[in-house]
Amino acid sequence: MVQIFRFMPNTRTNVFCACATSDAMTLAPADAGQQQDGVRATVGVSGDGASLLRGILILWIIRLLFSKTYKLQDSSDLTEKEIEEIIEEWQPEPLVPRMSKEKPAPSYNIVSGPPCHKITVNGKQCINFASFNFLGLLDNDRVKNQALQSLRKYGVGTCGPRGFYGTFDVHLELEDRLAKFMRTEEAIIYSYGFATIASAIPAYSKRGDIVFVDEAACFSIQKGLQASRSHIKYFRHNDMEDLERILKQQELEDQKNPRKARVTRRFIVVEGLYMNTGAICPLPELVKLKYKYKVRIFLEESLSFGVLGQHGRGVTEHFGVNIDDIDLISANMENSLASVGGFCCGRSFVIDHQVFALLAQKAISDYVLIVILSQGYCFSASLPPMLASAAIEALNIMEEDQGLKVVGESISPAFHLQLEQSSGSRESDVRILNRIVEYCMDRKIALTQAHYLEKEEKFLPPPSIRVVVTVEQTEEELEMAANLIKEAAQNILQ
């Protein structure tokens, strides 16, 4: 029999042969008394040996059943020499694309001296219509002195993240003050304005969650969304009907799959005052939609904080919306407060989550690389205490001095000037606008184009000049700037 097996081709059919042979063998013990039993003669073993053999046979059959009928050819294996050749041949792209000679890297404007109301750009003295120093606190002596005192107490750096002795009493004070000012339960500060919303979004919204975002959302929101890996649905800029349409669509989908809908968190992310368009978001309608469709609202108020509303509490105060209706507000302290960093505020429950969102997330999921969450908070060095002190003092001034209000009432203090008719291509538009900016700069008005990373933006806004109005500019200066821009446009566009 062994021989039979040996000659059999290694295919499935031999399994059946083997089965048949095995059946024949099971009969063998029944005829144990007969000396000339065929099977036993062939195999030449005793009764015990036969059952052993049967066992082996069964194992053999099992092996055959599960073995591959043919062997994969290892033709893909490369020889050492071939591997070396491939490695030798591989040429990576250069680390950065070579700059073409005709299009050299645009150089930055150089500002010498403080970037406040009167600014010196590239050696030219100008009036600043470009920085977001809405309340003129950058040049404020009280703020400077407070920062100086703080410097003399704490030094400059914190030499650690918040968790590792990077929390200073001034950080706690600033958080407390911000929460009180915004009338929320709690606030936390970040050391970098850009990182604030970019790390707050992924702290809440995870893979599988749904985020409804305005198309004009600023770049840091886009980065936060990217990091969150949630489903992102864009609605047209400030178009509540479009948003409702998408929400309804989502509701229908949820009805199809209620089990999934029960665990899918939904968020609307909007800006109070859009950085890219200068428009204000229709918050009351958003709040209505929030309760109708059970979607949470995250509000980014970097531009509107300190600007809108009677006390500068932002777009909630402007519309008289109860701040508790907004789930999370984030803003940076780099515009109105003229310091550095950002903060998030909201109900305690929401805020606390950010602090250890990371811990919670890591504990349950094994995605080694899933991370982010509130990393901007957990893993980065904390805000230099002198900057926190400066922000506190700026808040003091804001609270005391109600006269500090941006000209233009509810209209956005940062607005964009675009070309009415495009000249054909984005590049030439940019060039035209640049000439307008330079024209004004030569005549003592500092302006800037709104700069974007064109390849990175999801919905690239059209090129524009962003004009910023602050409390420091006098009526005369405003008039002068308006006239100058008009003049520049006439001269250059014709």
Binding site: L78, I86, I87, P92, E93, L95, V96, M99, A105, Y108, I110, V111, P114, P115, C116, S131, V143, A147, L148, L151, R152, Y154, G155, V156, G157, T158, C159, G163, Y165, T167, S191, Y192, G193, F219, K223, T264, R265, K294, R296, E334, A338, V340, R347, H353, L359, A360, Q361, K362, A363, I364, I372, Q375, S380, A381, P384, L387, Q449, H451, L453, E456
Partner: protein, 588 residues
Amino acid sequence: MGVEQGGSSPLGPGGAPSLKGPGKHLLKPYLGTWRIILPGTPGVLPSVCLTLPPHQEVSSDGAPGAYPSKNKRTHLPTVWELESGAGVGRSFRGERKGGPWTFEERPGVKVVSAGKHCVLCGIVNKSEVYKDVLSEFVPLYQDFENFYTRNLYMRIRDSWNRPICSVPGAKFDILERVSYDYNWTFKYTGRIVNDVINMGSYNYLGFAENSGVCADAAAEITLKYGVGVCSTRREIGNLDKHEELEKLAAKFLGVDAAMAFGMGFATNSMNIPALVGKGCLILSDELNHASLVLGARLSGATIRVFKHNNMQSLEKLLKDAIVHGQPRTHRPWKKILILVEGIYSMEGSIVHLPDIVSLKKKYKAYLYLDEAHSIGALGPTGRGVVEYFGLDPRDVDIMMGTFTKSFGAAGGYIGGTKELVDYLRTHSHSAVYATSMSPPVVEQIIASMKCIMGEDGTTLGQERVQQLAENTRYFRRKLQEMGFIIYGNDDSPVVPMMLYMPAKIGAFGREMLKRNIGVVVVGFPATPIIESRARFCVSAAHTKEMLDTALNVINEVGDLLQLKYSRHRLVPLLDRPFDETTYEENED
């Protein structure tokens, strides 16, 4: 008077609603967990008892701060410690030095027991602590998500975020705080713990100062410029000070050009996406900092992870990547970028830069070196890990680092060729969208960098670099002699000391603070859950007396908490090759 809840197994989830211990202690179900309530302990850190599993002895007979008193045996052997008679498992964490290496095995039972503790903690607590106000909404957190937070982190939460109210120099002052609700909230007593020796801040060269040349320079700039900028580099926030800093940084690093950014974390997370993208491959060390990981993920490139500091693992990945190309399409990769750190902040290990540079050259990959902890802290003149190994900075394509640590300021930089920096100036997310660095912070960096370079006409900076090197060697040697397990390289000022068990995190942090030493304790998720550790950061500002005081206290607490795990007393292993088996096992 201590009480032991030996056999009553309060850990059982379905136990009696309220268990009265034989003493004053009352075990009450609190939010579904058994916790010890110490009656009549006024003003003490009641949170102290949180680290103790309920069957451990608690001493509560006394004055504030009585637990655990020194002369009392407060630390009864617990289940897991009784088991820890012998080490079984071996895990090599060998670190190649500039010359010899040491490696230390991990006591196996500790690992098992540490894991067991976590599981036990988890089973007990089933309660839903958070209740979202907006009950109709999909809850922000799944019940499960709070598992770790509630069961481990909250018990030892008091070891982190301790607020300080002075310069984070060699000594600092800490605000005293207590918790009456098991670390859910903290109350400040208004008292200040003065002159705590600071072993936690990344103040390697001691530039965290409120007086002296650097602080004076920063003060002057504060008055002149103010603290904010209110615009981006690309628009109208590019100050002359920024340009000055970048020129100086390039000179300091020995590269063509450099660019500075407002936040170290963002330097990584916002510039890696500018350098690589789809069709590129990132080879990342498994222990890379979160910012590198985030940057890699945001870039959209494929990420592959190699074993920590393991050159064989890296070479294999490099070879495979080039030979097989991109997955599915098999197109060749556009670029391969290797991400490594100079000193790994949780391991204290120094990257094997010479090997990496030769691999990078052989396989034509690009090298991104994050010198967050090594710049200023390594090398004879503080130029970082490149100088430490005597290499040419031009061999590293992207030199990244932070100003937070050695320079006592904030922010980060990227240095490299002129083309690289020019490219970043137009394509970096940070330059286009983020507000520029605060002028006084910039000035602090300029002043401290000049000091290290000796451009201020003194040798003070140079002396600091040498002092740091001496302090580091002294501190590490002493800890090893005492029998602690220390990770990392002999020259690395980051000194992780192994605690292993999560329960010891809280205990070690509290015991050290009680003896006026501020230390950093680290657990999951920054480390594997069974490799909890304490981390000391040596500074040039530490005097020998301070280090000796700290060492004595560590010795004492180490005995108290039974932390002297090391069975090898200083065994330098000469030229041990990379552990072939470890490597094979871990290959995926």
